[in-house]
């Protein structure tokens, strides 16, 4: 792998052998399982083998050249860059959480599927080819050059840091969860095992190592994602094409929603946003996720690595194709799982302990995930120490208290994360398939963490250290600093992840709006509108990002002052009444109820025009655009040199505009 030329010309063969090797490995594990090797050992083998392979690639790809470290020497073919981008893009949330979101929300959840794919059209048409021609190492690098100075560069780094750091904490957390569940080690230890997996891939070889590891991780994650649902589809319909067969299963689900007594209360799977979050919020979410996709630095920087502008464009197409393979499978997972639950779980007789035990014997995954607290029947989980009879008896007691003789929709809760993880068990598949899914989830989390880590550390080492602090630093020194920062950021992310910050995890969805509000306008107008001036872009970024951040923080953490400030008097008065009710509550139960009512009210009312705060870019983006345009028009036009520079960015011909060494 040290010899770039030989390696790139043999890519097809190398990854072909790798894929074959991976399949063989899975088969061998399957055979070991049949021979009676305990699941725990198989779990270790899965995690150890995959991480060892990623580490091996990372070590073979070590480099001492700056351009190899930052942009993989700009020789990653479009096809492979597409795979690497897909792995970079699809996080633990996509792999594990997406299908669950679709299960819970039906059509409304498709806003995420659309939002996380359509943005690539904007990447291809508006941004990626031009950044490639410019020849940057990082996204703030482009802002610094186009808007002449360190202010724009620093703002770029700040926005990048805000949207990438919460995101990487969530990935490290995800690796910890998968590893601990699978190896049976404590979460804290598992986080550091995951951290090791991330660092061996990225530290020695930077972008070059991350690229080739991500390709390997993509192969693992896509195989792991498709196999279980493919088997499920074959079992149910006889055709191994879940993406096509789930249509008929969807019809079964809709029929059950309409007729089955126990399913009443569930929102129809195909109910449009008119009946759920409203069209405005649905479309606003799609817009913010799409624009955010086109602004996230860890995605954009992948297109710096292609050999040419032409390849950068084509590579975006490959990226989306590889992402599409997972995203068009996710709705199938949701529908298959829903059909199983609606047909075989809801409506089950739970009037006696024996009946519940029969249900558990038929659907063992209920017990497995009930013990993990991820499935709740009549609001109760299952005691991990209980055997089947004890578990059935305990569930019987709580269900009796609720006065229900059949298991119905309001009394059955399933965590979003379960859908993908439990599918192998729902289909009654051997443990090896569960192991495969865990390896896929781990690959998804590790690959995204690698990309994010590199985006943050590169911005700090290249933009802050090299460009702003020491422009004469030697190559060796720059690479050393880059690696120290990389390890530093990774360790901080791990420490934050160990504290299990629930806030940070829910903040990940904010990254898209923050990136969209801060970076989309300066990146696109920088290329498409020559008249954009430095002052315009800088003020636009500050105001756009500021408005978005204000809306997020204000609505989430200070909803009471947000309502006082922005909402009409009658809403403020209603809030006053609810606050007073909390103060005057007679006992603890009344206080809890009053507090609940207040929290619900604040969540619903602390908004501008009813827009959910996840879509705050809906405000930040136009503010950024208007401020940039107005300020640009009242400030002197960019210099002749800058205009020539933009002309050069616009045509593919010629050398990149940044000197490389």
């Amino acid at each position: 792998m040290a010899k770039g030329g030989d390696f790139t010309s043999n890519l097809g063969r190398i990854y072909g052998i790798y894929t074959g090797g991976f399949v063989t490995f899975v088969v061998i594990i399957g055979i070991l399982e049949q021979l009676g090797v305990p699941n725990r050992i198989l779990g270790y083998l899965f995690v150890a083998m995959t991480i060892a392979v990623y580490a091996g690639i990372g070590i073979l790809s070590r480099t001492m050249q700056v351009s190899e470290y930052y942009v993989a020497g700009r020789k990653v073919p479009a096809f492979y860059n597409g795979m690497a981008t897909a792995a970079d893009w699809m996080s633990a949330a996509s792999f594990i959480g997406m299908a669950g979101t679709l299960y819970a929300q039906g059509y409304t959840g498709l806003g995420f599927v659309l939002g996380w794919t359509g943005g690539y059209v904007l990447v291809a048409v508006l941004i990626a080819p031009y950044l490639r021609k410019f020849g940057a190492y990082t996204v703030p690098d482009f802002l610094g050059a186009r808007y002449g100075g360190n202010v724009a560069r620093l703002l770029g780094v700040i926005v990048l840091f805000c949207c990438s750091f919460t995101y990487i904490v969530a990935q490290v957390y995800g690796t910890g969860i998968v590893t601990s569940r699978f190896l049976g080690i404590s979460f804290e230890v598992a986080v550091f095992v995951g951290l090791g997996g991330i660092l061996v891939c990225s530290m020695l070889g930077g972008m070059r190592a991350v690229t080739w590891t991500q390709v390997a991780q993509y192969i693992v994650l896509i195989v792991a994602y498709i196999i279980p649902v493919l088997i499920l589809s074959t079992q149910r319909t006889g055709i191994p094409l879940p993406q096509l067969t789930y249509g008929s299963v969807l019809q079964d689900v809709s029929a059950l929603e309409a007729t089955k007594e126990a399913v009443q209360g569930a929102t129809a799977h195909i109910a449009t946003p008119k009946d759920t979050i409203g069209w405005v919020n649905f479309l606003a979410l799609i817009l913010c996720l799409m624009i955010g996709t086109a602004s996230l630095p860890h995605v954009l920087m992948r297109y710096f690595t292609t050999p040419s502008v032409r390849d950068a464009r084509k590579s975006v197409g490959w990226s989306l194709l590889f992402i599409f393979l997972l995203y068009f499978t996710a709705p199938a997972y949701a529908v298959f799982a829903k059909a199983e639950v609606y047909q075989n779980v809801l409506g089950a007789d739970i009037s006696t302990p024996a009946a519940i035990q029969a249900l558990f014997e038929q659907a063992r995954w209920l017990v497995t995930y009930g013990k993990l607290g991820l499935v709740k029947i009549c609001g109760a989980t299952i005691d991990p120490a209980a055997d089947l009879a004890m578990a059935a008896d305990a569930i019987f007691q709580v269900c009796q208290a609720k006065g229900t003789a059949i298991l119905n929709f309001p009394n059955f809760a399933i965590d979003n994360d379960v859908i993908v993880i439990a599918t192998p068990e729902i289909a009654g598949l051997p443990y090896v398939i569960s192991g495969l899914v865990a390896a896929g989830g781990l690959a998804a989390a590790l690959s995204t963490a690698d990309g994010l880590l590199l985006a943050i550390a590169n911005a700090l080492s290249h933009d802050i250290y090299y460009r702003m602090i020491d422009q004469h630093a030697s190559t060796a020194r720059r690479l050393t600093i880059a690696r120290i920062l990389l390890v530093g950021v990774a360790v901080i992310a791990a420490i934050v992840a160990i504290s299990r910050p629930s806030d940070i995890l829910s903040m990940v969805a904010w990254a898209f709006s923050l990136a969209a509000a801060g970076l989309f306008v300066p990146l696109t107008l920088g290329v498409w509108w020559k008249r954009t001036t430095s002052a315009g872009a800088v003020l636009g970024m500050i105001t756009g990002f500021g408005v978005c951040l204000y809306y997020l923080v204000g609505t989430r953490y200070f909803p009471e002052s947000f309502i006082s400030m922005w909402r009409p008097d009658d809403v403020v008065a209603k809030m006053g009444e609810l606050q007073a009710a909390v103060g005057t509550a007679a006992d603890d139960a009344a206080k809890t109820a009053a507090q609940g009512a207040l929290t619900k009210f604040l969540g619903a009312e602390a908004k501008w025009w009813g827009i959910n705060n996840i879509s705050c870019a809906l405000f930040g983006l136009p503010v950024n655009l208007i401020v940039t345009v107005v300020v640009s028009l009242v400030t002197p036009a960019p210099s002749k040199e800058m205009q020539d520079f933009i002309d050069n960015v616009r045509i593919p011909k010629g050398e990149t505009l940044m000197a490389e060494k």
Partner: protein
């Protein structure tokens, strides 16, 4: 440098035209079509209500094809103007 010539201006005019075409298609399949989902759901093909299908698969397929089409078209524009990269 070829920038700033008549050829470059023509190249950019066509590039802009292609950009607008792509964004119009993008807009239709990202937003417009989904507004009609309740109506489209009345059409059912192999079990898929079409409104649901467009959000779950149809639009995604359009996006993938659109990007490859765009890449080919833009290459053509670059080559016509003689502003493509030399291999």
């Amino acid at each position: 440098m070829a920038a700033g010539t008549e050829q470059a201006r023509e190249h950019w005019r066509r590039t802009r035209g292609l950009m607008i075409t792509c964004l119009v298609v993008w807009f239709i399949f990202s937003f417009l079509i989904h507004m009609f989902a309740p109506t489209l759901n009345n059409i059912v093909i192999i079990g898929f209500p079409m409104g649901f299908y467009m959000a779950a698969q149809g639009s995604l397929i359009v996006f993938v094809i659109l990007i490859f089409w765009f890449a080919a078209k833009q290459n053509q524009i670059d080559e016509d103007a003689g502003l493509h990269e030399s291999e």
